[in-house]
């Protein structure tokens, strides 16, 4: 499996990360879907997590409770964020 290829939703999420956090020199393809977004990966921090949570809310109408124990897992990578967005979209559609 080639982990550096983005699905359409992963591409969209990666672009959302870049636009939201003003990562001006990066393109969506520069953030591999499996690269950790925080810490030693891309290098984002807790304020970025808050900013991203807000962007997801505005863009996809997804609300993440501040005590959601799964939030850390959802925010791990572009791939996990995209999967989370997809699952929330599916939940809303049902």
């Amino acid at each position: 499996m080639n982990t550096s290829t983005h699905t359409a939703l992963e591409q969209e999420v990666a672009q959302l990360v870049i636009d939201t956090l003003n990562l001006e020199d990066l393109q969506a393809t520069d953030i591999p879907p499996q690269q950790p977004l925080f810490g030693d990966g891309l290098g984002l921090d807790s304020v970025d997590a808050l900013e991203l949570g807000l962007a997801l809310q505005k863009r996809y109408d997804i609300r993440i409770a501040s005590d959601d124990k799964d939030a850390r897992r959802h925010f791990a990578t572009v791939a996990s964020l995209a999967a989370f967005v997809a699952s929330q979209k599916a939940a809303c559609a049902n």
Binding site: E24, L26, L54
Partner: protein, 248 residues
């Protein structure tokens, strides 16, 4: 102590980036077009470190950066009359619209945020001050820097930065013709210095009887006088007359 040596300076405004640009401007000062978009690149920082820098922060860092050596610790004075008016308006607009506030914008919405970013990005652990005054914020910031010199440090950085306010503020803000930042590195007077350098200066405050506002923001007018090699200048605001004199 009101005497100091101007060791070095940098300045930025839209269309005015190099020392030669500023020398040309000083010959015939004029209002620069400011579309509120043009901003310094701060190319010395990786993108990840630039991501939270506002336009005003970029202007401050771009001008201050080369004035501090890699292994130096210098007190830092940030002066701005109006601060980050575009950020303030964005936050207030979100509140009016019932939108959640950006954590980044909110976290950086204090007057000393830029001084804090300077401290973090340059590893500066010493004194820093953030000042908001009236039209003579520039002089008050320099006085703050002179107090640091008097306390015994060899040099201090003073940056005065203003951003062209959004049009919503136009009825109340008339003293920012265009965005600008002026950074000065001040040191103790040196009577042996090369007279062709930026010079030793004295700053004295007198009482003014007449109110005669300067045509340009004081920091820009000081730069104009510096580059035109004027030997003195006066800036009056309300009852305060600031007398600048080049002593050598």
């Amino acid at each position: 102590m009101t005497a100091f040596r101007l060791e070095d300076w940098r300045a930025w405004a839209p269309g005015l980036e190099t020392a030669d640009d500023w020398r040309a401007w000083a010959q015939s000062p004029h209002t620069m077009p400011d579309n509120a978009q043009a901003q310094p690149s701060c190319a010395f920082l990786p993108a990840l470190q630039r991501r939270r820098l506002s336009r005003l922060a970029r202007m401050t860092l771009e001008t201050a950066w080369p004035l501090c050596g890699d292994d130096e610790q210098l007190p830092f004075v940030f002066g701005s009359h109006h601060g980050e008016t575009p950020q303030t308006l964005a936050l207030l607009s979100d509140i009016v619209d019932g939108q959640p506030l950006s954590p980044t914008r909110f976290g950086l919405s204090v007057h000393n945020a830029i001084a804090g970013q300077w401290s973090i990005l340059r590893g500066q652990r010493g004194e820093s001050s953030a000042i908001a005054g009236e039209a003579d914020t520039f002089e008050h910031a320099v006085v703050e820097g002179l107090l640091q010199l008097a306390a015994g440090v060899p040099a201090v950085l003073v940056v005065v930065a203003e951003e062209l306010p959004p049009t919503a503020y136009a009825p109340w803000i008339a003293d920012v013709p265009f965005s600008y930042a002026v950074a000065l590195r001040l040191g103790k007077p040196d009577m042996n210095m090369d007279p062709s350098a930026h010079g030793n200066w004295q700053l004295r405050l007198d009482r003014a009887d007449d109110h005669a506002p300067c045509a340009w923001p004081h920091a820009l007018d000081f730069l104009r006088a510096l580059l035109a090699r004027d030997s003195s200048l006066q800036h009056t605001w309300k009852s305060r007359r600031w007398n600048w004199r080049r002593t050598r």
